[in-house]
Symmetry: C2
Subunit: 231 residues, 2 copies
Amino acid sequence: MPRFSRPKDCKNCPYKSRAFSHLTPEELLKLQQNCLIIKFKKGEIIAKQGTIASHSLYVSKGLIKLYVEGQNRNIIIKLISEGNFIGIHSLFSELNTYNFSVAAVENSNICMIPKEIFYQQAQKNQNFLFEITKNISKCTNTIFEKLLSLSEKSARGRLIETLLYFSEEIYKSKTFVLPITRKELAELCSISTENAVRILSELKKEELIDIDGKKITIKQPALLAKLSAIS
Amino acid sequence: MPRFSRPKDCKNCPYKSRAFSHLTPEELLKLQQNCLIIKFKKGEIIAKQGTIASHSLYVSKGLIKLYVEGQNRNIIIKLISEGNFIGIHSLFSELNTYNFSVAAVENSNICMIPKEIFYQQAQKNQNFLFEITKNISKCTNTIFEKLLSLSEKSARGRLIETLLYFSEEIYKSKTFVLPITRKELAELCSISTENAVRILSELKKEELIDIDGKKITIKQPALLAKLSAIS
DNA sequence: CGCGAGCTTGACGTTGTTCAACTAGAGTGG
DNA sequence: CCACTCTAGTTGAACAACGTCAAGCTCGCG
């Protein structure tokens, strides 16, 4: 099985970005012809901190993590699911090297368009660029929220916040299967693995959640939301 | 003395944004005619967290702080000096309310252009929007760096980093006068005021810096840089 | 069957916050 | 002009939160 391919029909792709709906059929075709879909297996690195951002990256299938390699441990900035660009702001910043790494959390397909083509398109179509700009703004807000969370909340508050994020935003269900390891969960909250495990155990003991391996059930969403807000 | 005025000659303003150099004389004039310069005294609030972003904000004189009001204490995200937009990403995000507050650290002049006018201009002139997009990307990177610093470094490391920032980036001198109080310095590093004072005293005792009230001298920049990186 | 990775728990030390007390200087009103 | 008050700055001590180290456990895989 080939590890890469050309997209067949971007126009009718159910996962395409809203930005692409602003393009003319010709413009879309041009991007399609220059786009490569690369398949990444779980755990594989998609982009590496410090390398030059030569392509736009877009998740067309799967789940990836955007993280920074620290001296001791990594920090996961966020998970990105299908239908979203990855760190698109890096393409527009002065120094165009990635200040983060990207890896596949699940088997994923990534659409890659050369930076120049993407740039040309942004220069040509106002609404496209506008949509990209909004995208970057949203990304800024996400990081902003994370900064606040890190600065204001305790480890417990951040972990609860993350669990609710999975439950409410990603899976939209009170029961879900964590797609990541305990270590990654900890890295996502910027706490130690041991502390993450400890807090999970406490929350179970307090009957706020239920745990069965990677299967987690939110038992008291309202109370947890309150706890996350104040602690 | 009036607290607000219309700009007289944006074209020749020495502090104007690079984005404005992409405008035609007519476009610039239109912005100028719709722009208000508001004078804020030290300590006054320029924009309040939760309110709607109705104008673009630009620092044409002075120094301002962009901060978030927490339950216990504030968190200063960054200081912004003259020649820069303030939280421009808020203008382009879905919900257009500020998720931060802005206040004058020194007496400052702020140029305000109604959002609609600014938007129209962005829609009309490709290069202008492109420059704004780069601006937002840069802002994202700044917050990103702050997030990393907060997650990786100790209080001591963050404080040293901030001192070096003032010395190297803002004042470009080994001796400078802190424009902010100890409390604000602490909020800028996301630590308690007491801890900030304590660390400053330690650094003085260790002969790494010198302190005389708000006047600070960096005595061993290289060593401090090293300390900031690893701690 | 043994090995390693992921997970879990306990013990302990470090870091940083909070509380409390004190000082210095600036501004205010009698 | 002097007492008063308020804020900023400073230092010490107690305490809580969190990370680190160590040990053991389970499960899947070679």
